[in-house]
Subunit: 309 residues, 2 copies
Amino acid sequence: MANKKKNFSGVIAPLITPFGDDGAPDPERFTAHAEWLMANGCTGLAPFGTTSEANSLGLDERMELLEDLVDAGLDPAKLLPGTGMCSVTDAITLTQHAVDLDCGGCLMLPPFFYKAPSEEGLYRYFAEIIETVADDRLKVYLYHIPPVAQVGFTLPLIGRLKKDYPGTVVGLKDSSGDWGTTKSILDAYPDLEIFPGSEAFLLDGLRAGSAGTISASANVNAAALYDVYKNWQSADADALQARIGGVRKIFQSLPMIPFIKAIVAHYRNDAGWAKVRPPLVEVPVADVMAAIATLESEHGFKMDFGTPA
Amino acid sequence: MANKKKNFSGVIAPLITPFGDDGAPDPERFTAHAEWLMANGCTGLAPFGTTSEANSLGLDERMELLEDLVDAGLDPAKLLPGTGMCSVTDAITLTQHAVDLDCGGCLMLPPFFYKAPSEEGLYRYFAEIIETVADDRLKVYLYHIPPVAQVGFTLPLIGRLKKDYPGTVVGLKDSSGDWGTTKSILDAYPDLEIFPGSEAFLLDGLRAGSAGTISASANVNAAALYDVYKNWQSADADALQARIGGVRKIFQSLPMIPFIKAIVAHYRNDAGWAKVRPPLVEVPVADVMAAIATLESEHGFKMDFGTPA
């Protein structure tokens, strides 16, 4: 199962977005972290996911940051930017822009303002984007995250989009947090590239035919996740999975997005990295330091950024 | 109570947004409907509300449509455009633009992607917008619509924003659909301009000190709503309120936004008016015609657009 040809596979980080003193996104910190991740366990990057505070960014900010990654030399084929928006117009703008940069795929939220939209309405949203962009290079990864977006994908909707846009709708990130849901999608559509949105399901997912994981913690723990991915058929796969499970529990002990940024701030010795945009708020430094102490003492966790320049 | 000086009051329509054959917003239909409403019962207009499919529009589309209204001669002091976005950056762009056009106020959704944000995070979002725009002309109307946005305003948050930005945070639209909530806000902050998001609470609201209503159905039934507003202290106020209640039940018998657009399409004899953007879908014409027949036969409903030019 895991040998089939995939467009994306492995460990993909929903890249966190740093902000400068002026509150604007900081392209230097951003590209530096992207490069570090690709050298330290990530097989791809998903800028502008939930962990990226994507929906807290402006349209122009998103497009400029994506250009910064490509300009810095990141391989666009390894980039899976989030381009789904409430507005089909804005989604087309972002999707077209990502395709023009030759990005390997687009991770697309459904429109999430109106609740309980019809399946037909959601279908039309994706159809309009795909038919307006009208480019064979476009590879769509549906982003199913009902705990946050509230609006998600049913199996029939996934099937209809896949059937009508073969070779374009090629994957799905499942952040339902429910293994039963992930398994049902894997069973229904084994040729889809499925990424559980949590590394808690990394090994189970690989055994059931998933493509890897796109998980917040890949921003700080990618190498350990990659160990599971690389060795999923080995005898110690379960032990490797258990290791990332223990670390994940600590990550979850504080609000995830600000905590992950605070961890990077700590190991980079760069307090500015911890900045988040409203409605998120920073985690108190004392809480961060206590949690990092536990990560180090109980799990041998560390991030190695070398000697700062 | 109702005599206090208000920035906005009366019947405000969350202006529906028409689309042309190419799918783009249609400025001619848009400004024509705005002008008709101001001549037929509305005291103000709230373009880019929920009923306007605001979140299905692009940033540029919203700004251009607002300019179209002002260019057409609508009094900007009577315009209350929606400018709240998930992204604080985008919200600042829209809010600044509305203030530059001298709009009477801005109706602001909280950032609605992340669920269960902290009060502090929501406070910072509004504080950042207000302090970045930094203009005494800015009048903020908080938009509380938890059934759709899921994220809403607590009484302490409203109080903190009002206290820290007096003269700027001046009103609130309450689309909770719950009179107890509206009443609690009216009781806590009698100097705030409160607009129930449904005309079901128009008379009760006025009796309790509210400023009027901002309701979807004002797009098609403003004159009847205005009758209640104008005569709320008269002997037949309850009868007038009962009349709009009966009509409202029919409006609610079909998906509200597409149905309202279909009603306008019918009376304007202009099928294009019924077009909606995904994720919304049009209401079947047969259902629309049946509902309109009931509106006319049982409630004497009609819209008079005169003879088309």
